[in-house]
Symmetry: C4
């Protein structure tokens, strides 16, 4: 029986991993490929690539963001030892928002620095952060959490989850009330901040 | 030999999982991304998003529906202990209809509340439900079912499968003979009903 | 050391499974979704769906064909016990042709019953069949084949592989020298023949 | 504890495998499908396919290139025995560049033999090669590398990684300073060179 519920947990994780991996890889197909007339100058090509700057930046931000959510998901589920149906609804809702990210990214990149697209992107991230927090909290609470898990590990997962919620909420507020540019800069700084954190933690 | 047939079963499940995960994540790329001229007003952006309401609703319904079929598939295959070639045809037919869902969703969302698109969507779901029932019945019948499986678990899988068939058939009939709106409302209520069921079952 | 090479084999199979699963699920996104003006008649919708008949038929044929290649791939690799780099080139070439199938399917469906598209599709299948035969022959030959494998199982894998090569070659010849319709009918009969075979084998 | 870190490593590898497999299979959907008017001549169809030569060549080159990076990734991670967070940043950066390849391939194929697109493709490959080298170096260094790993295996992984960096750098330089044709020929020769290497190594 224990083996059976463990198997159910493993499958849920496998399915979630696959959705994260597909969503992260689908980001690229939303970027339109420039088709210039034969013999177009190098300058015209550089201009065409420069016009896609927002798409490239959006791609790398969302790649990092989905990658970080995936890592958080795993960190939490490593602490879970038992399957419980309570996790299903939160997890599928989280996956639905993650799989929605390619749309939010493409919309925000195609309308760079505009208020509504930026808020849409930040709000999608805030929703993902909230569902991520709730999913990971459920996975690291009884009856799912493993008996021998260090409470400090659980605290760490939740504090990080909460930090992401607060960060996304700040980006939404900045984009909505101050300026879309500020919201987008807050987002663009995420990969950098993460990189610094990993460097410092070494 | 037993290990070998178990391995064949495991691979079939892995392949099926992957198709479910890809189909569910592909739903998003059928939603067209609004490209507004630079400097478009916030109102114009909100209008562009509002025009996609049907696509967003369709996305979340289909995400939930495919997610539920995936869960049902797993619940059934957890009870199977032996591989038998008889499952192959039904399973591949089920996967073909699941992988067809992004098309049915996009067609129905692009032509919201129209009779033919709604019936197409409901009929796709009915076909998926019927193949799901037959696949899961085969997986939970001899010679595939495990020797120590509780008959009540088998009954539960089949009753749920039958409930989905009846629900989809009702939606088809409602959409065809009464009104497309009724059919689509029946579909839209699925995630809600599921959520309530999980809450109640806790 | 043995465990390590087994692991390499397992990963090759996992990677191949994933490519098969993605290629089979990508088939759907090549079918264009009809967008009719609001209030279009039911008849106009039925006509729009009827115009996609070739796409739907192509989808189901290719889904079955890729599914059958996947099953053959697995049947062969179940008999392999050791990894050898010799398999890599053939396997990646096979996967490249399988991943090419969504293009061949879309091209042949968009230009139904035309000679060149039909030959393109049949030739892609013939190439897949030839690479499939060679890949599976390598996996079921020394040094890869398991020591305790029944020679009859090996013979079965190869005979089936050869049958697919001959069938595809016949379809190419029929499409090229007789009529594209004949070639496409030969292809369309594959799912049916497979179904009958499975029924008879029960 | 050891089992737990091994599990983290296994998951990282699974996630990476999935991204490689999806990126390689997505290559095909960037190739536009020719839709000719009904009754178009065979010659018109052959011309339409001939116009896609660059896309087909690009498809097969990128398929091989991503396949080779995948193999190198696996060869390296087979030698790793312990998980360390240091690998995460490099690995996600590598995956982001691999997932970017469908765009670079489509852009370079749509503008065949033009300088900027060719340099873009070669530079993407150079970046992938550099990140691949760094990722694999981290996976085969303490504290990640297995205690019983043969130093010759580690040296082999790094030398191959370095060879790819140098080869890509040469292609960038050739494309930038000499001629885009030279750069593209250098790339086109990769699958051939690989094939010969495997043949010789047998």
């Amino acid at each position: 029986m224990a083996a059976k519920t463990d198997h159910a947990l493993e499958r849920l994780v496998f399915f979630s991993d696959a959705v994260f991996a597909i969503a992260i890889t689908l980001l690229i197909i939303e970027i339109p490929v420039p088709h210039l007339p034969h013999g177009a100058s190098d300058l015209a090509h550089l201009q065409a690539l420069a016009d896609l700057t927002a798409s490239f930046v959006g791609y790398f931000i969302s790649f990092t963001v989905i990658g970080l959510f995936w890592m958080g998901h795993h960190r939490a589920f490593t602490l879970a030892a038992h399957y419980h149906p309570r996790i299903l609804g939160w997890n599928i809702a989280l996956l639905a928002v993650i799989a929605f990210m390619p749309f939010a990214t493409a919309y925000s990149s195609a309308n760079w620095f505009e208020r509504v697209p930026t808020i849409t992107y930040c709000a999608t991230m805030l929703l993902a952060a909230a569902l991520n927090f709730q999913t990971n909290r459920t996975a690291t609470s009884p009856p799912m959490v493993g008996a021998t898990v260090d409470p400090q590990d659980v605290r760490y997962v939740r504090q990080r989850g909460l930090a992401v919620v607060l960060g996304s909420a700040t980006a939404v507020v900045a984009a909505a009330f101050l300026s879309p540019k500020l919201g987008q800069m807050a987002l663009a700084s995420i990969p950098l901040r993460r990189f610094l954190l990993v460097r410092l933690a070494k």
